[in-house]
C-alpha cells in the first residue's frame, strides 16, 4: 500500500502538468514532451534527495521532544545520523515516476547525443540532487530557530520542487529572483533542459545558464552550511 501510494504521488504530480498541456499545446515556450524532461529531471533529483535527506524533516519532532541530545551521545556527526536513520523503499519508489519521465523525455526529444549533451545531463543530475539535498539541510538548520515553523521551510523545499518542474519563462520577476537565483530551482531542470534541446531562455535566464548548474549547487550548499551551523550553535547555546 505504501509503495503504491508513493508511486501515486509521483503520478499525480505528473498529471498536474499533463492536464495543463491537454488544454494548450505550448506553455512557457515548451511542449509536453519537453516539459516531461524538466519534470522528470526535477522530480527524480528531488526524490533521491528526499531519500537521503528527507528525514531531516523530523528534526522538529526531536527538538521539541528534547530527544535530539541522544544523537549527540553517538560519535558520528549529527547530520550524518539524521541522514542514515531512514532510507526506505517507499522513497525509492517515489523516484520511479521521475526517472520514468526523464527516460521517456530523453527518448522522445531530438537530442544530439554528443559528449557535451552527456556531460550537461550528468552535471544537471548531480547538481539537482545536491541543490535539493542542500534545501533539506537549510530547512533543518532553520528548524532550530523556528520550532513550529516547518511550514515556512515547506515553502522553499516543496515549493521549490514544484517550481523546479515549471518552465521558468512563466515566472514573474519576484519569482525569478526567489526561485531563479536565491533558491536556484531553475538551474536544477529547466535551464539544463532548454540548453540541451537548444531552446532560447527567458529574460534574465539565458539558456547557457544550464551549464552553471554546479555553481547553483555550490550556492545552495553554502546556504545549507550557514543555516545548519547557525542552527546547531543556537541550539547548543540555549543550554540544549
Amino acid at each position: 500500500m505504501d509503495l503504491a501510494s508513493s508511486l501515486l504521488v509521483g503520478l499525480v504530480e505528473l498529471a498536474e502538468v499533463w492536464v495543463l498541456f491537454q488544454n494548450v499545446p505550448r506553455l512557457g515556450g515548451v511542449e509536453f514532451t519537453q516539459i516531461l524532461l524538466v519534470f522528470g529531471l526535477a522530480d527524480f533529483c528531488f526524490s533521491m534527495a528526499d531519500l537521503l535527506f528527507g528525514h531531516c524533516d523530523n528534526l522538529t519532532t526531536f527538538v521539541r521532544a528534547g530527544t535530539l541530545d541522544v544523537f549527540y551521545l553517538r560519535p558520528q556527526p549529527l547530520l550524518l545520523q539524521l541522514i542514515t536513520s531512514d532510507i526506505s523503499l517507499r522513497r525509492l519508489a517515489r523516484g520511479a515516476v521521475g526517472l520514468g519521465a526523464l527516460v521517456v523525455g530523453l527518448v522522445l526529444n531530438p537530442i544530439e547525443w554528443d559528449l557535451g549533451a552527456v556531460v550537461l545531463l550528468g552535471l544537471a543530475v548531480v547538481s539537482g540532487l545536491t541543490v535539493f539535498s542542500a534545501q533539506f539541510v537549510t530547512a533543518a538548520g532553520l528548524q532550530f530557530f523556528l520550532i513550529n515553523g516547518s511550514e515556512m521551510t515547506n515553502a522553499f523545499v516543496y515549493g521549490g520542487r514544484y517550481a523546479a518542474s515549471q518552465p521558468a519563462s512563466v515566472w514573474s520577476r519576484p519569482l525569478k529572483v526567489a526561485f531563479g537565483f536565491f533558491f536556484p530551482m531553475a538551474f536544477v531542470a529547466y535551464l539544463p533542459v532548454i540548453e540541451l534541446l537548444g531552446l532560447p531562455g527567458p529574460q534574465w535566464l539565458p539558456s547557457w545558464f544550464g551549464w552553471c548548474a554546479p555553481l547553483a549547487a555550490l550556492w545552495a550548499c553554502a546556504l545549507a552550511a550557514l543555516s545548519w551551523r547557525q542552527g546547531v550553535r543556537h541550539y547548543q547555546g540555549g543550554g540544549g
Partner: protein, 253 residues
C-alpha cells in the same frame, strides 16, 4: 508570552507557504490561460487569480491530508471511552474539527485572499447573493471534508493501521478537489471521475461560488451536490461507526 510568539510565527509561516504556492500557481496558470488566447473554459486571468487565492485561502480549513485526531484514538482503542459518552462519536468529532477549521479561516483564509487581491489582482462576485451562498458553500465544503476524513479514520476499526489509506487520501484528494488545477480544465473523463468523488465538494465548488464563477442556478446546482455528498458521507460514517463499535465489542474492547 513565548507561546503567543510561536503561535503567531506558525501563522506567518503558513502564510508564507500559502503565498509562495499561490504565486507559483498564478505563474503557471496565467501562462496557460494566455497560451489559450486569454480565455480557457470560462476562466480569464482575473477569474483564474480568484481561483488561486481563494483555494489557497481555504487550504487551512479544508482537510486534504486525511489526518485526524480520532484516527489515533481508534488505533489505540481509546475510542471506547468516547462510546460511553452520550454524544454520538461521529457528530462530536466532526463538530469539533469543523469548528476548528472555521476558526482557521481568520488567520489563514482572509490574509491569503487579501494578499492575492493586492499583489496580483483578482475578480470578485458581482451579486451579494454570491457572498451569502458562498459562505454556505464554504461551510458545506468544510463539513464534507471533515466527514470524509472521518471515514478514513473509521476504517481503522478494522484496519488498525490507516496510514496507507491516509496517504492515499492525501494524494488523491487535493488533485481531484482541484487544488493545483481547476477540475474544469481536466479532460472530460477525468472530470467525471473527480465529480464521482466528494473531493470537488470540499474545495472546487466553494471556490467557484465564492469567486463568482458559478452564479445563480449554477451555484445552486453545486451547493446541492455538496448537500448530497454531506448526506452520503454522514450516512456512511454512521454505518461505519456502528459496525465498528460492534466489531470492537466482539473483539472484547
Amino acid at each position: 508570552m513565548k507561546e503567543q510568539a510561536t503561535y503567531r510565527l506558525a501563522a506567518v509561516a503558513g502564510l508564507v507557504a500559502n503565498v509562495t504556492f499561490g504565486l507559483l500557481k498564478v505563474a503557471i496558470l496565467f501562462a496557460t490561460v494566455r497560451a489559450a488566447g486569454g480565455e480557457l473554459e470560462g476562466y480569464d486571468v482575473a477569474s483564474m487569480s480568484a481561483y488561486v487565492w481563494i483555494s489557497q485561502g481555504l487550504l487551512g480549513s479544508v482537510n486534504l491530508n486525511g489526518r485526524s485526531e480520532v484516527s489515533e484514538r481508534i488505533r489505540t482503542g481509546d475510542v471506547v471511552i468516547d462510546f460511553l459518552r452520550p454524544l454520538d462519536v461521529q457528530t462530536a468529532t466532526v463538530a469539533t474539527e469543523a469548528g476548528r477549521s472555521v476558526f482557521a479561516l481568520l488567520p489563514r483564509g482572509a490574509p491569503s485572499v487579501v494578499i492575492g487581491a493586492l499583489v496580483v489582482g483578482m475578480a470578485a462576485p458581482e451579486h451579494p447573493a454570491s457572498y451569502l451562498l458562498g459562505a454556505v458553500s464554504l461551510l458545506l465544503g468544510i463539513v464534507v471534508s471533515c466527514l470524509s476524513v472521518y471515514l478514513v479514520a473509521a476504517a481503522g476499526f478494522w484496519l488498525v493501521e490507516t496510514r496507507g489509506l491516509q496517504i492515499l487520501y492525501m494524494v488523491t484528494s487535493g488533485f481531484l478537489a482541484g487544488l493545483f488545477v481547476p477540475i474544469w480544465l481536466f479532460p472530460t473523463w477525468l472530470q467525471v471521475l473527480a465529480q464521482a468523488t466528494p473531493f470537488p465538494s470540499m474545495l472546487m465548488y466553494p471556490v467557484d461560488v465564492l469567486s463568482g464563477r458559478a452564479e445563480g442556478l449554477d451555484a445552486i446546482v453545486l451547493v446541492s451536490a455538496q448537500v448530497g455528498w454531506l448526506a452520503a458521507t454522514l450516512a456512511a460514517g454512521q454505518l461505519m461507526t456502528r459496525a465498528g463499535r460492534r466489531h470492537l465489542e466482539v473483539q472484547g474492547g
